[in-house]
């Protein structure tokens, strides 16, 4: 049975006009760019939809930030949808109830063929009273000019057991299979529609087509903080006439963060250090629409989610690095001016150390006996203390203002250890120098 090719662009969590956090120390000149980062990323996604001649654009996840949508975000969504309508591209938005309500009440969806779907409801939702017909929207496939498909759930389908419930993503499976909807759109497991939508439909589409790939690239259109602003974007899913599915990742982010690691060693002077840094900088991959690259430099480097042993080895590595390092100056005084960034035209770069500015970069700690001893102690002390971390938090939180209690859940032991090790070492070095003076 021949099949018409089908192109879907999936945009997850555009977070329109959401404020990016965790950008302490960012120079004020980048403020506007960072504030508009989500909007620019959304624009790139719309451009990508047009450029790749997609049939459908699917928006899922957080359309806006975690708080109420802003007027700027809504206006940008309206403009984007208008563009898509002019290009005759169908749009599906799967969002939570609250966002749906806002979208339905305002002039945000324009007058085009936009279908709102709820991951928690069985049917596509009506948009407005006079747009009732859009609930079961039909969209044309450009490759099949004389024919159009309609999505009409078969009678009684939703009365079936839970594992046969139709989900938002089933829509696409129907389109792929071109068969009778009732036969193929049931999810194989007892999953909620939310699962499938949040998993973007992409996977489901591929499963329905009998295809699978090792990795599904999905994620927000633009990260929410310094720690999430890695390469992000949208996914282009192409199902060809042989039902072969191809998924491509299209980067859309405007702000990109890169975690760079320098392993200091004995005899490494400033020039060598800068040379190493420059090599890493030259090896960066930045797409052409990116406007700001945040380079976070770590002098030692460690992995997340470390086991006790790996944490010990990391701390030992840090001690070794500190003891071998030649440089010794406040991190804030380090000059990045000699580094050159060869990114796309107009793309800026912001360098900063992961350590706080007042902390000092390590020196030859062999001269500072107690600092070295402290680092040795840290290798055993902190990994052992991890077990009692929860009780420590409870105890410490008692002396904090009550409004901070909720934040204690987000405290990460690794981060605290990093602070504790760095600050402790710093104090010992400073004390040694003051005593010597």
């Amino acid at each position: 049975m021949s099949y018409e090719s089908f192109r879907l662009l999936h945009v997850h969590a555009p977070r329109l006009d959401a404020a990016l956090g965790d950008l302490l120390g960012l120079p004020g000149v980048h403020n506007e760019l960072v504030q508009d980062a989500t909007l620019h990323a959304f624009d790139h996604a719309i451009e990508a939809a047009i450029e790749h001649h997609v049939d459908v654009v699917l928006f899922t996840g957080a359309i806006f930030g975690e708080t109420a949508p802003t007027l700027r975000g809504l206006a940008r969504l309206r403009d984007g949808l208008t563009v898509l309508r002019e290009e005759e591209i169908a749009v599906y938005i799967s969002c939570e109830e609250k966002t749906q309500q806002i979208l339905r009440d305002g002039p945000w969806l324009g007058h085009g063929a936009v279908t709102l779907m709820s991951p928690f409801q069985k049917q596509p939702l009506p948009i407005e009273k006079d747009r009732q017909k859009l609930a079961s929207v039909s969209f044309r496939q450009p490759s099949h000019g004389d024919k159009s498909y309609r999505f009409d759930p078969p009678q009684g389908l939703y009365d079936k057991p839970a594992h046969l419930r139709v989900t938002g993503s089933s829509l696409f499976s129907i389109l792929i299979q071109q068969g009778t909807p009732g036969e193929i759109h049931a999810s194989p497991n007892d999953e909620l529609a939310a699962d499938l939508i949040i998993r973007c439909g992409d996977e489901f589409v591929m499963q329905s087509a009998g295809q699978s790939i090792e990795e599904i690239i999905s994620g927000p259109l633009q990260g929410v903080s310094r720690h999430h602003t890695g390469p992000t974007g949208c996914s282009l899913i192409v199902v060809d006439e042989h039902k072969d599915v191809r998924v491509s990742f299209i980067p859309c982010h405007v702000v990109q963060r890169e975690h760079m690691t320098i392993r200091q060693h004995a005899g490494m002077d400033e020039n060598m250090m800068l040379s190493t840094m420059q090599q890493q900088l030259d090896g960066l991959k930045v797409h052409q629409d990116c406007k700001l690259v945040i380079c976070q430099w770590d002098l030692v480097g460690y992995d997340d989610n470390e086991t006790r042993e790996s944490m010990k080895s990391r701390l030992a590595r840090q001690r070794k690095s500190y003891s071998e390092a030649e440089r010794y100056q406040p991190a804030g005084a380090f000059s990045f001016d000699r580094l050159s960034f060869r990114g796309p035209t107009g793309c800026k770069v912001w360098h900063h150390f992961s350590a706080s500015d007042e902390l000092r970069l390590p020196k030859l700690l062999d001269r500072h006996l107690l600092a070295t001893e402290y680092l040795k102690l840290a290798e055993e002390f902190f990994p052992d203390e991890i077990a009692a971390f929860e009780s420590h938090l409870t105890k410490w939180s008692e002396s904090l203002p009550p409004e901070l209690a909720s934040r204690m859940k987000e405290i990460n032991a690794d981060k605290l250890i990093e602070f504790a090790v760095n600050y402790g070492t710093h104090w010992f070095v400073q004390a040694a120098e003051e005593v010597a003076a």
Partner: protein, 1054 residues
């Protein structure tokens, strides 16, 4: 420093007391209460430091009213005895005198006494060395500054200070982030800022609602605009219709009138608008052509008459071309004759030069010989190459010869020097001399080692003999031991005989017992003596044997020494000093000999290097000699090649390269000159041939024309004559040709004018027939009618064009002709005015609506681009992030403090000062390891004690006995530490074991005895009998102090 004697003339209760003390170990003084033990302690302090205890008010109250204190302390320090006599006499002008040794009274320097006391102060002595029970019980007595430094945290050094500093830094940092007590810090600031931002965000107006209202207003306005535009469009269409009709009516009516007039006009013909002028022009052309024809006929007749009068010579006309050709060559003839003369003169000069150059080459040279020489560039190249090869071969040979000569000369010179040196040193064989010199050095080194060994063995022999002497004195038992043994033996003999007698007389069993006992006593006596003496003798024997072995070794060493000394070195050069090592040669002399030998060896090694170089030079000379024939052969071959090249070029053979090149160069130049000369000869010959040919042509033409050439043999004169005749002929011929040409041209012009005349007449007739007229009058009448018709036609076209234009301006409107027939201009105008007014009203409404919409859209755009909320949210987010980070830093620093605390605790335990460590060991001994460690928390003056379970106890929590043991241990460890720095003072202890139980007292006494064994003097005062007994058990007898109770009672009564 130790006290050997105390002599108290008067101090407290003591009068005329004289005590001799044991300077090595413990001196125990026993006396009951009030016996003056403590006074003795105070006396020692007063005598040594001149002051009474500060913290002993009882003493002052008791003896403060004394008028005289006097006494002497004898001290032993650094192997010398010193006497320190001190006298304080209040009644005699309150003088204080002190006397040390034999120095005159009053001249003693405090410095001398300070030296004796190792610059210690009375307070230090009181705190550490003079310990009473009271001092032991009070912690405060350990707070002397120097003592505190050793005990408390001040002693942890830079690390301790760092810990204190780190603590301070961490507290500062912690408090800066968040100070829970003061509810301030960065965290509180951020929370306040966050609250402010949240309030500002909340206070923002409901922008979405406002925007929605604006959007609704925009939508309503859009609908209104659409309605208005519809109405406006309809009215505009009506208005356009009326205006169109009005515009059409005028042109339509005019067109109808002109069309009617046009129908009455005659039909237009082909008569041009300038018909009269055209006719006049044609007529004038006919007349003009007729006049031109008459003129040309007259000219033809005149030319015919002039041609009949002219005539020319026919022979001259036939040869005119040949004559002209010869005349054209006149200048060439003149030039050729001149050049011929010049070439002949040049050839003569060149020939002279050639002969001169040939003469320069050599006497045997001529033009023929010159032709044999090859002067081409190739020949020159060959000559140069051959010369280079020849010269190179020659130079190589020469260079080789020079090198050989230089090397030979140098080698000969060095050989002479080398042989002179050998003769000078009287060396026959250099390698042997070097080998001998090395042996001599080895012998000298061996000699040094043997001397060292000899002295060691001598020393050992002396020690062994001393040891034997000491042992021999101990072999004999003391007299009382012999007496006892003899008595024991006699007693055994007596028992033996008594037993025999008893066995025989009374009872054999008892007798046997007696006998056996007697035998046993005798045996035991013999065994004891034998055992004791044999042991000592064995030792003496073994030492004897050892001494003999050493003597043997010493003999061997001396023999080796003699052997080495007796060695002679006849092979050594005479010039080198040969000195024998004397039997009593000192190490210094041997060292000098060794240096000398090294110098000799160095010199010989230099000579060996010299010899080696000469051998190499000889090899090189031989090699050079072997190469010489080859260079000679090469040079011969090159020379032969050079001569062959000279021959092949045509030169004579010679080995003089420069000369050969000069000959070749001159031959080359002569050859060039010869070529120039031969070229000149060829040119002269050619010029002569050309002139002869020209003369022949001239003669032949003269004969053809019939002219007589005998008059002139000069070719140039003949040519001048011919030139004059040819000029006359040419003038006549040019005139005739001119007349002929004019005749032909006039005939052509006449034929052309006749044709023009016929054409002009034909055109004029044709014009009249076409217009159907016969003359000019008829033509003028026709032209006036046609002019009127054109005017009407033009006006009609204009009217039609206007109609068309108006119709096209409104393509959508269709006007019916019937409407135009019924057109009423007034009614139409009224209708137009009414519609215009209505349209103006709609326009105003539209403008107003557009303005409103524009304002709404502008407002909406402003709202869409307003960044206030975004800015605030961004700030809030950053504040949230910072709060999180500060919180993490705060918690991190909290955790860091815990780690620092642990590290500090570890340091406090493991890196306590040496005083506390040795004190810990003593305490552990005193308390049978119940308490193991004494430590002081950093930065505090709080002593803690750790028990065997690792639990720490503060001093206040310890029992009295344990506390006294702790402080005793601390004092003893400090005394040990002072001693290690060279401060040794006598220790005076006054009843320090009172609160110790018996076990701990025994242990403490053991520890004190062990302590005293380390060269410490301890004066121990006690009033307890059991203490003296414990000491007595350990071999220390107590010295009983005189009973002063009576004196005290007297004093109290007094």
């Amino acid at each position: 420093m130790k006290i050997s004697r105390l002599q108290i003339e008067r101090f407290g209760i003591w009068r005329d007391l004289d005590l001799s003390l044991n300077t090595g170990g413990v001196s125990l003084f026993y006396g009951p209460n009030e016996a003056g033990k403590s006074t003795l302690l105070r006396f020692i302090r007063w005598a040594m430091y001149g002051q009474l205890p500060k913290h002993d008010p009882g003493m002052l109250s008791r003896y403060g009213n004394e008028t005289l204190r006097a006494g002497v302390v004898s001290l032993e320090a650094r192997g010398k005895m010193h006497r320190v006599a001190r006298r304080w006499d209040d009644s005699a002008t309150n003088t204080k005198t002190i006397k040390v040794d034999d120095l005159p009274e009053g001249t003693i320097s405090q410095r001398s006494l300070d030296d004796l006391l190792s610059a210690t102060t009375g307070d230090l002595f009181e705190s550490i060395y003079a310990v009473g029970l009271k001092e032991l019980q009070e912690l405060g007595t350990l707070k002397n500054e120097e003592v505190s430094q050793r005990i408390y945290g001040l002693s942890l050094g830079p690390e301790g200070k760092q810990f204190l500093k780190v603590q301070q830094l961490s507290e500062q940092f912690h408090g800066k982030l968040y100070d829970a007590a003061g509810h301030r810090g960065r965290l509180i600031d951020l929370l306040t800022h966050r609250e402010t931002l949240q309030k500002r965000i909340k206070s923002l107006p409901d922008r979405l609602g406002e925007y929605r209202l604006l959007a609704d207003r925009q939508e309503e306005a859009d609908i209104e605009v659409i309605e208005l535009k519809k109405r406006q469009s309809k009215l505009q269409k009506e208005l356009t219709g009326y205006r169109h009709l009005d515009r059409l009516y005028g042109p339509w009516k005019r067109e109808r009138q002109l069309s009617a007039e046009m129908k009455q006009m005659p039909d237009p013909r082909t008569l041009p608008s300038n018909a009269i002028a055209l006719y006049d022009n044609l007529d004038a052309q006919v007349r003009k052509v007729e006049h031109e024809l008459d003129t040309i006929d007259r000219e033809l007749r005149g030319i015919k008459e002039r041609r009949g009068q002219m005539g020319l010579s026919p022979k001259l006309r036939e040869n005119i071309v040949s004559i002209q050709a010869l005349l054209d060559q006149r200048s060439w003839v003149e030039d050729a004759q001149r050049r011929l003369g010049e070439s002949q003169a040049d050839a003569s000069l060149v020939k002279n030069e050639l002969e001169q150059k040939i003469g320069e080459i050599g006497p045997k040279w001529n033009i023929h010989r010159l032709d044999q020489v090859e002067t081409t560039p190739d020949a020159h190249l060959r000559l140069v190459n051959a010369a280079q090869l020849y010269q190179r071969g020659l130079a190589r040979k020469t260079r080789h010869e020079r090198k050989y000569e230089a090397l030979s000369t140098s080698a000969q010179r060095k050989l002479n020097e080398f042989q002179d040196k050998l003769k000078q040193l009287n060396i026959e064989s250099l390698p042997k001399a070097i080998s001998d010199c090395q042996k001599r050095m080895a012998d000298l080194e061996e000699l040094g080692k043997l001397r060292l060994k000899e002295s060691e063995l001598k020393q050992l022999t002396r020690q062994l003999h001393n040891q034997i002497t000491r042992l021999r004195t101990k072999i004999d038992l003391p007299w009382w031991a012999y007496t006892m043994l003899w008595a024991f033996a006699c007693f055994g003999i007596f028992l033996f005989f008594a037993g025999l007698y008893k066995a025989v007389e009374t009872a054999w069993i008892i007798g046997a017992i007696y006998t056996l006992t007697g035998v046993m006593c005798c045996g035991l006596t013999w065994a004891l003596r034998r055992h004791y003496e044999s042991d000592m003798r064995d030792q003496v024997t073994s030492i004897h044997q050892e001494a003999e072995q050493v003597d043997t070794q010493l003999g061997q060493v001396r023999q080796q020494l003699d052997e080495i000394r007796s060695r002679d070195y006849p092979w050594l050069p005479n010039t080198m000093t040969q000195r024998r090592v004397g039997p009593t040669g000192s190490a210094l002399g041997e060292a000098s000999l060794l240096r000398e030998a090294a110098g000799q060896l160095n010199e010989l090694q230099k000579l060996a290097t010299h010899e080696e170089w000469l051998a190499k030079a000889r090899q090189r000379l031989s090699a050079l000699r072997g190469k010489q024939p080859a260079y000679q052969r090469e040079e011969n071959l090159k020379r032969q090649a050079w001569c062959d090249t000279l021959k092949s070029i045509g030169l004579e053979e010679t080995v003089k390269v420069k000369e050969a090149f000069a000959v070749w160069q001159r031959a080359y130049e002569a050859s060039k000159q010869k070529d120039i000369w031969q070229l000149g000869l060829k040119e002269i010959e050619q010029q002569k041939q050309s002139l002869a040919a020209f003369r022949e042509r001239l003669d032949m033409l003269s004969r053809r024309v019939g002219m007589d050439m005998s008059r002139s043999s000069n070719m140039l004169e003949t040519l001048s004559l011919w030139e004059d005749q040819l000029g006359n002929y040419n003038d006549g011929r040019r005139e005739l040709l001119s007349q002929k040409k004019t005749w032909n041209e006039s005939l052509k012009l006449r034929r052309k004018i006749k044709l023009q005349l016929a054409a002009a007449v034909r055109k004029r007739d044709q014009f009249l027939s076409v217009n159907r007229i016969k003359n000019r009058n008829q033509l003028e009448s026709l032209i006036s009618q046609l002019s009127r018709r054109d005017d009407i036609m033009h006006r009609l076209e204009e009217a039609r064009e206007e109609l068309r234009r108006i119709a096209e301006s409104e393509p959508d409107l269709a006007i019916v002709e019937e409407d135009l027939h019924h057109y009423d201009a007034k009614a139409n105008r009224e209708q137009v005015e009414m519609l215009t007014m209505e349209l103006d009203e709609i326009g105003e409404q539209l403008h107003k609506t557009h303005s409103d919409t524009g304002r709404v859209v502008e407002k909406m755009t402003q709202m869409e681009h307003d960044r206030t909320e975004t800015d605030l949210r961004f700030q809030l987010k950053q504040v949230d992030s910072e709060i999180q980070e500060v919180l993490e830093k705060w918690l991190g620093s909290h955790w860091a403090k815990m780690a620092i605390e642990q590290l500090r605790h570890r340091y406090e335990r493991d890196y306590q000062p040496g005083t506390l460590m040795s004190a810990s060991r003593l305490l552990s001994k005193f308390t049978h390891e119940r308490y193991r460690k004494i430590w002081v928390p950093m930065g505090t003056q709080q002593i803690s004690v750790e028990d065997s379970h690792g639990k720490s106890w503060r001093v206040e929590d310890l029992s009295d006995g344990s506390r006294e043991q702790l402080f005793l241990a601390l004092r003893l460890s400090m005394i040990e530490e002072f001693a290690s720095k060279g401060i040794r003072l006598p220790v005076v202890m006054d009843d320090v074991f009172v609160n110790f139980d018996r076990d701990r007292t025994g242990t403490a006494v053991d520890a004190i005895l062990e302590f005293a064994g380390n060269n410490h003097q301890i004066l121990l005062l006690t009033c307890h009998q059991h203490i003296t007994e414990i000491f007595a058990e350990r071999g220390v007898e107590a010295l009983r102090l005189p009973n002063n109770r009576r004196m005290v009672e007297e004093r109290l009564a007094g």
